[in-house]
Amino acid sequence: MKFTLDWLKDHLETDATLQEICDVLDRVGLEVESVENPADKLADFVIAKVEHAEQHPNADKLRVCTVNDGKATHQVVCGAPNARTGLIGVFAGPGVYVPGIDMTLTKAKIRDVESFGMLCSERELELSDEHDGIIDLDEALGAHIGERFVDVMKMNDPVIEIAITPNRPDALGVRGVARDLAAAGLGTLKPENKGFTGKATFDCPVEIKLEFDAADTIACPAFAGRYIRGVKNGPSAPWMQKRLTAIGLRPINALVDITNYVSYDRGRPLHAYDADKLKGPIRARLGASGEKFTALGGTVYDVDEDMTVIADDSGVLALGGVMGGEVTGSTDTTTNVFFESAWFDPVRTANCGRKVNINSDARYRFERGVDPQSEKWGTDLAAHYVLEMCGGETSAMAIAGEEPDPQLVIDFDPALIVKLTGLNVKAAETKKILASLGFTIDGKSDVLKVTVPSWRPDVHGPADLVEEVIRIVGIDTVPSVPMPRGIGVAKPVMTERQKRIRHAKHLLAGRGLVEAVTYSFIQSDVAALFGGGSGALELANPISSEMSSMRPSLLAGLLQAAQRNADRGLGDVALFEVGQVYAGDEPGDQTTSVAAIRMGTATLTGAGRDWRGSETSVDVFDAKADAAAVLAGLGLDPTKAQITRNAPGWFHPGRSGTFQLGPKNVLGHFGEVHPSVAAKLGLGRAAVAFELTIEALPSPKKKTPSRGAVEMADLQQVKRDFAFVVDANIAAGDLVRAAQGAEKKLISGVSVFDVFEGASLGEGKKSIAIEVTLQPRGQTMTDEDIEAVASKIVAQVKKATGGEIRG
């Protein structure tokens, strides 16, 4: 919403400075977006007279003008067809910046004739798009030669642009803005222009009909009109053109300008029809499918039953509240005009506007809510301006339907103000503020009866009245009050899950992985590679195909991110993310994944070459170690989980595993990325990954902080090595578990220190070497004791795996 300071003062009697006005606008909720004074950028342009204009010796279309700017005469080469002797125009000398062509003028030579400056068109001054000729001012202005153009034209008038929140349609007219400022103490609201109040000599010859079923009358409950005959359309009054131009509207002709002006001045959209082009009565009704509407400008739209239309016997003339039509619009030759001042309901207007994708000033106002009591005076204002600018004779106002009268009365206890805001506003001030905003108050008891003005559709209840008072008083005056706080030390606030997320992040970062935050939505075919891409999780209106499907796994985003880095030459990437993944669209389908990838040589000890050791490519055990670390860090002994070969299809089938607790509870997977998935993602290097589900981890058993007494045996541990030859398909984990179980009381640890396959062992065989740690309890172990345990270990391993002790 834009207006000028001068325009505002039509409605507001004030001495306030521009800055004060802007400060108050901000305070009351009409946020100032910009303030621009056109005089600032046009300060150097002066009124000048063309003393002589002669044909350029070397160019047919150019003239050489002698220009008098009040101080001197300058030779100016000008291409405008209207450059002539005696013209009063606008001149800029060398050194002046011309905004319309974004150029600072210099002395120039045009076709061998020197030129010292420029005679300007409206477009060059950014006044309009007019560029057919240079500005050709009234000869009377010849008295002002040498004076600043902006002063003579009274353009020293700042343009203020404010952002209007959707609840304030009343502030889409300058008068509504002025009302807020007056309420906030910045002056007094001037009496409103009531428009034509004279007596009309004839009745409106255009019959207006509302043709709605009872259920749809709200679509257009009132349609007022006026017929004005014998008008002479032409340019509107200069003051009106100036204001419209200042806010970026192009003056068309008086009839159109008047509708635009009333829309901005009073928030009341109007439409002007050329009455001679109307056929039969004018009707407001719902559209019918199959009907067409040709808008101003010629574009044809399909009409449907959800749209409110204005029609005559020839068909649809306008989309109610959205846009007028091409055929019946007023033109320069219009002599009889019919003004429409109707009320269209916000929902239909918004839906219609969206459907045809027309953003008009009328739609903007109707979909937020035009004052439902403004239909009649809308025609009065139209008549007033038309008679003033175009002459003619107006009919009486005609109206179909009745102006809706919301008449909302709110029981308001002013004590609610201090209760909700903490600020004590005196009852008298509350009443004064509400009254100045147009509320009427029956204040006989403590609880006020407050009637909401028709132009405030946003005010429904007492809380809204609190807002009205407090925004005018100024929220800055509300005292800041410390919140009551808990007594003593603050209690922990995070859930177990939130703590685990935090721990997992720090743990993985501590393992050299860098945290990424990737998008929750990914490309559908990439989601499909990771078990996703299903219908319910595809966005109906994605912003791009790369962001169209809710991710089933974090790995897609991480692997793609790693490859993007590789493409920039950073191929040894270790990334992790902790975030949500989606199995369906119900809240329970969203789980929290912890996932990481390592690519290239980005192992725990570092990436790339190092003088202390050779460069190693990441493998499945790097991923397993990361996953196991997370499990351990989150309170689950990873050796207690089973490791199965159940990893999903995006992992390498032979070099991957699954951590699970029992057959059903899958904690997560680790492994090499499947080569075909890697190929589809365009990965150039080896990549390994893991992904765990936080919610799958059992909650740690609730315990006291006490950890119990530590057991530290006095007796020394004994270590013994065993090497077994087993079939190549035997899992080392099974062998270790067998050894561990041979004598649980004594065996405190089993570690694998060598795995070896070779011809010496025979086809399909491998050797697994383990170190068993024995912890004697109570008494030291004799050689015989140790031998006995060793035999049990060998027997157990043989039983479980068929393995033989290697000779």
Binding site: G29, E31, L420, T421, I475, S480, S520, M547
Partner: protein, 369 residues
């Protein structure tokens, strides 16, 4: 009868000592020292041989000669130990002289210096710390929401212009006509929290939100933190205090100047936008000084319709809520010129703006130090 020992024998002792010490000096390594020890102090050594003669002496002579021999034995033993130590030190010195490492060779920085925490996570933790101190717990909700919780119960009816302005991502419409959406704000967590419990409530709700917008200052996914306080009397003054405390703590300044402007959100009444004063020093934004203002958050008293929608009685309870863009305050605090790299996972950006794993924000230790 004991053998008579004359003084000459004492003289022999002196000669012997001189000879022994001379031999000791000549022994050049530990093996030679051992030979010397055996020859002098061993069972059959020369000093031991002297000791053996004592048995045949008269008591007086034995006492006197014994003392002399013992003295000799002690001195030779001491000299032997001293010589041994010297030789050991010399041997160690010789070994150490050959054992050198080029300590200028580089070592790898180690995983704890390589990993990073993303700024969003770090700020999330900072927010948690600050609000935990004021008694707020952390609530969360799903990203995929219903129209009811994202809009209707927040007093945004289907016809409300705000519902069009939000550029909502929708999922396909189901057979029953309903459709899910990606939440456009964290406010549905207010609804979920209030539906699940009775006041008093003090929560923050950080999380991902989605709007169909992509340009220099917008990404289609971003993070918000919502705050909600509901009880029987909490009011706008408390809201202001809470936000002032938050801004001071978060931006780590002693004072901030904030401006509360009336505004409009469907789910609060009265509604406000909050500007914070700042100065621009080069690329850096400094809060609490300067004369510029920037908008950082929206807030207000919870709308009675929202309270009713969750089954609360607005006559009995009241409260306030605020919403802050996490990316916005993160870029401001940590001097990031552009928002878009936040989710691009460029290692150069992550290493520069990310935090070390042990850099856990705390109120006791300072949030960003």
């Amino acid at each position: 009868m004991g053998k008579t020992i004359d003084t000459a024998e004492y003289g022999d002792l002196e000669a012997l000592e001189t000879a022994l010490l001379g031999e000791l000096d000549a022994a050049g390594d530990l093996a030679a020292l051992e030979d010397f020890r055996v020859g002098a102090l061993g069972k059959k050594g020369r000093i031991s041989a002297l000791m053996k003669t004592l048995g045949q002496m008269e008591p007086d002579a034995r006492k006197s000669f014994g003392q002399s021999v013992n003295g000799l034995k002690q001195r030779v033993s001491d000299a032997l130990e001293a010589r041994k130590s010297d030789l050991g030190e010399a041997a160690l010195a010789a070994r150490l002289a050959t054992e050198t490492a080029d300590v200028t060779l580089p070592v790898r920085p180690g995983p704890e210096m390589m990993g990073r925490i993303h700024p969003i996570s770090q700020v999330w933790d900072e927010l948690t710390e600050i609000f935990a101190d004021m008694g707020f717990s952390v609530a969360e909700g799903p990203d995929i929401e219903t129209e009811e919780k994202n809009f209707d119960k927040l007093n945004i009816p289907a016809s409300h212009p705000a519902r069009q302005e939000m550029d909502t991502f929708y999922f396909p419409t189901k057979e029953d006509g309903s459709r899910k959406l990606l939440r456009t704000h964290t406010s549905p967590v207010q609804i979920r929290t209030m539906e699940a419990q009775q006041p008093p409530i003090r929560i923050i709700a950080p999380g991902r939100v989605y709007r169909s917008d992509y340009d220099q200052t917008h990404t289609p996914m971003f993070h918000q933190v919502e705050g909600l306080v509901i009880d029987d009397s909490t009011h706008m003054g408390h809201l202001k205090w809470c936000l002032e405390e938050f801004c001071k703590a978060f931006f780590e300044v002693d004072k901030v100047k904030m401006k509360f402007r009336a505004s409009h959100f469907p789910f609060t009444e009265p509604s406000m936008e909050v500007d914070i004063q700042y100065a621009e020093v080069g690329n850096e934004v400094r809060m609490g000084e300067g004369d510029k203002w920037m908008e950082i958050l929206g807030c207000g008293m919870v709308h009675p319709n929202v309270l009713r929608a969750v089954g609360y009685d607005p006559e009995k309870v009241q409260g306030w809520a605020f919403g802050v863009g996490i990316e916005r305050i993160t870029t401001l605090k940590y001097g990031m010129p552009d928002l878009r790299p936040m989710f691009a996972s460029d290692m150069r950006w992550l290493k520069h703006y990310g935090f070390l794993p042990f850099d856990v924000p705390s109120l006791a230790g300072g949030l960003s130090s």
